[in-house]
């Protein structure tokens, strides 16, 4: 075993690893998917797959909401930003996502007024301070960040701000999971459920996975031991032929989620009939848009955007990586044409993307494994 002193409770890690191995049926292969960028990060950074028997493969699903934004939508955002009357505001990890003509970062270098913000509330402040400009907030993220956007819209409404709107690209995790379950490409045995999304939506939304598809789900925390324990809980269910939703992260995730957060989302937003996800195609009821009552805060209502569907660059295999069909290193341009400095696709641009995570940690893991087996 490597890394015996790498993280706390290495003893517990090895114990869990042994129990996980003991639960594997001889000759059976197991594929467990996680759909949370933070989990991908932990798994690669601590080389958790090396603690698992060969029979278990961890597959990384679409856990990065930046990664699933199609290029056409990035182009729409760039079009909004290029309006001289607009100040575009965005989270940091959106800044380098490439559209057809570069990224926010590139546009900013050319003089476009695009400002990085930590919170949508910072964006609101910029609107108050610049009454002669229209301030647009690039709203991205799963249900983790949607409540914050929603609360900001409510605050803008309460203040009667005339110059603030959001370009809403919030996506919802459940339809993505369902699309993967329905996909013929992949046969999964269980899911490691996302941590922070679940603080908002709770654990009930995952019940359909167990009930209708017969796969167990364990909502997991972010530490290496959390993930190993969750894998153990999944394997225990599989060994007994059970399929249920369990909450390993109960110290942070309430079973019923956050009612205030869900109410804020429900008041200001509604589901789009369909939305395009990079790599997964069109998925129905998988993304949010601003409700008609709040149309004055909807950038798509105030401005017109090209709305052109743009295909990914030919070399880009982000779609397959996002679905978990390909591992990052199996992508033809991984590490060569596509690196964090020169990203082609979003899996590499976003720090939560599987490719970025693997680039930063995974290669070191494989090297260490090689060195360890050589010595």
């Amino acid at each position: 075993m490597r890394f015996v002193d790498e993280f706390r409770d290495a003893e517990k890690a090895r114990a869990l690893s042994a129990r996980i191995t003991a639960l594997c049926e001889p000759g059976r292969q197991y594929k467990l998917m996680e759909v949370c960028g933070g989990h991908t990060h932990t798994i690669y950074k601590h080389g958790l797959e090396d603690y698992l028997p060969e029979q278990i493969t961890l597959v990384h699903g679409p856990g990065c909401p930046v990664c699933v934004i199609p290029m056409g939508r990035v182009d729409d955002a760039m079009a909004l930003a290029s309006d001289p009357g607009v100040i575009m505001t965005s989270f940091g990890d959106m800044m380098r996502v490439p559209g057809s003509n570069g990224s926010f970062f590139d546009a900013k270098a050319r003089g476009t007024d695009i400002r990085m913000v930590y919170s949508p509330l910072d964006s609101l402040k910029i609107a108050r301070q610049n009454p002669d400009k229209q301030v647009v907030f690039m709203a991205i993220g799963f249900e983790t960040t949607a409540p914050s956007t929603a609360m900001t819209v409510l605050r803008a409404a309460a203040e009667g701000l005339p110059n603030f709107s959001i370009f809403c690209n919030h996506v919802t995790i459940i339809p993505a999971i369902k699309a993967i379950l329905d996909s013929p490409d992949l046969r999964l045995d269980g899911f490691i459920g996302p941590g922070h999304v679940s603080t908002v939506i709770g654990c009930r939304p995952y019940e359909f996975i167990a009930r209708d598809y017969g796969k167990p789900v364990v909502v997991a925390g972010f530490e290496p031991l959390d993930i190993l324990q969750s894998i153990y809980m999944l394997m225990l269910q599989l060994s007994k032929g059970q399929a249920a939703v369990e909450n390993q992260y109960a110290r942070v995730v309430p079973w019923d989620g956050n009612e205030v957060a869900l109410a804020a989302i429900g008041q200001t937003m509604e589901l789009r009939p369909y939305f395009e996800w990079r790599g997964l195609g069109f998925i129905s009821h998988s993304a949010l848009k601003v409700r008609a009552e709040y149309a004055r805060f909807d950038a798509e209502n105030l401005f017109s955007v090209p709305g052109v569907r743009v295909a990914d660059p030919k070399a880009c295999q982000c779609g397959e990586v996002l679905k978990g069909v390909l591992k990052p290193w199996e992508c033809k341009v991984f590490g060569t044409a596509c690196t964090p400095e020169t990203p082609i696709g979003t899996c590499m641009v976003s720090p939560e993307g599987a490719c970025a995570a693997y680039y930063n940690y995974g290669r070191l893991t494989r090297q260490r494994v090689r060195e360890a087996s050589a010595s």
Partner: protein, 90 residues
């Protein structure tokens, strides 16, 4: 962006019920605690913060563990802290 960072509640802003000043690894900033209205937050409580909003109330042990974990992440956490340091929502 998607990093949940632990912060300790220092005080509530008197004229704005949804806003609280928190301490995040020595950086003191104002965040919105409106999503935790049912929790009866008090100074000294720990919360998990995402993009300027407190998403969950956590105990001190969990906060310490989360901090440990984030410090292990390195650059992404530093970027998040730097972004928070720039934030002035009040």
């Amino acid at each position: 962006m998607c990093l949940g960072i632990p912060g300790e509640v220092i005080e509530f802003l008197p004229d704005q019920p949804d806003l609280a000043r928190v301490n995040v690894s020595g950086v003191k900033r104002v965040i919105n605690v409106g999503l935790l209205t049912g929790e009866q937050l008090e100074p000294g409580d720990w919360v998990l913060i995402h993009v300027g909003f407190a998403l969950s109330k956590i105990d001190e042990a969990e906060a310490a563990a989360a901090l440990d974990f984030l410090e292990g992440i390195g650059q992404a956490y530093e970027d998040e802290l730097a972004a928070l340091a720039e934030s002035r929502i009040e």
